[in-house]
Symmetry: C2
Subunit: 189 residues, 2 copies
DNA sequence: GTAAAACGTTGACATAGGACAACCTTTTTT
DNA sequence: AAAAAAGGTTGTCCTATGTCAACGTTTTAC
């Protein structure tokens, strides 16, 4: 099993080596090109991805074609369309690599079987859900009732990696502003 | 055990009557007045609440004193500050009853012990986390890049109960607009 | 039942940030 | 290496929504 995933399991579920060896075959490594899609809006999401290197984003497109980035994940994190994975309904979001990205892929059927049968995966899943929830909540909480300057400052303080590694266009769509506004704001700082 | 909670357990965890009788003593009934607080910002949240009748909201207050309602729950739902419950850190949100409200209260220690030891509660918790996550995601997704008229229409379509049972002031703070704007928009519909 | 407070509506005005456009720079393609 | 495409910056203008204010109505408190 890849050391990054091992670390994740040890840290969040106290899993021992024996269990990890048993789980290892469920995770298949694959590398995607920069800008390549792991999932497109309208498809049913069938996999959970653990990022070994690179990064990906979840984004939606509204009726005017404007992109809205909702989550950006780097190496060492799980990322997928949980809403589609959980409900089995078509995703309303896309998953796209922002850099050349290597992931470990587990199929949802295996994943949910293991959630039921294997306590360490049950714990990991609980952890993933809890932190996904908390992250989402924090983002709503921190963004609601703030102007765009405050949002950029928030990003600088809380997720500086996003500002340094990700293009302005994507950052703007993550902050809910236009690239123009972001550009103007950056010159103010 | 109260029939509403029973129904919840049967529906989401297939729990049988024997288990429900065992779980029953952990849930204590209590009634709160309209506007009464179950939790104040800065306190550590120690309980999970299941609403039997009435409704409550979670809201935050920003530095200018502006309220921001993030979740409104009616009878038949669990509600608490999960972020504080999970992390054990002080909550940044308030929980307040919007009507005279009767809840079943379970202490977080009991709750998390049961999550570990009792599969039906484990399943319930998973379900709560999953739906909390999905609800939050949907709200972000549906609100981002929409103007306030679209938000009101969204509410009318997706949560009409909120518009009919809850005061304009609270609804406005849920939509992230001022009561003035909401008032103007309502006259347009 | 009366006073006080909170809430809701509407108007006039101010402003943050989007739309459009031009231009420059960087990246990608061949 | 040249051409094309994408991304970034900056200017002007416009619109949606917040702010301030006045006033009427409903709810709460004594």
């Amino acid at each position: 099993m890849h050391p990054l995933l091992k670390e994740y399991f040890k840290f969040h579920a106290n899993a021992d080596d024996k269990i990890l060896e048993r789980l290892s075959p469920y995770f298949v490594e694959k590398t995607f090109k920069r800008n390549e899609y792991l999932l497109r809006e309208g498809e049913v999401c069938k996999h959970n991805y653990f990022i070994i290197s690179g990064c990906m984003r979840l984004f939606t497109t509204n009726k005017e074609g404007i992109e809205n980035t909702r989550y950006i994940a780097f190496e060492g994190k799980f990322g997928t369309s949980f809403t589609s994975l959980i409900t089995g309904l078509p995703a309303f979001e896309n998953i796209q690599c922002l850099e050349k990205t290597t992931v470990l892929i587990i199929h949802k059927d295996d994943f949910y079987d293991l959630v039921e049968s294997e306590p360490s995966i049950n714990k990991i899943y609980r952890h993933i859900l809890e932190s996904a929830y908390i992250t989402t909540q924090r983002r709503i909480y921190d963004f609601q009732g703030t102007d765009s300057l405050e949002r950029v400052q928030w990003l600088l303080k809380n997720q500086p990696k996003i500002l340094s590694r990700i293009s302005n266009k994507v950052v703007a769509s993550y902050l809910g502003i236009t690239p123009h506004t972001l550009s103007r704001l950056k010159s103010k700082l």
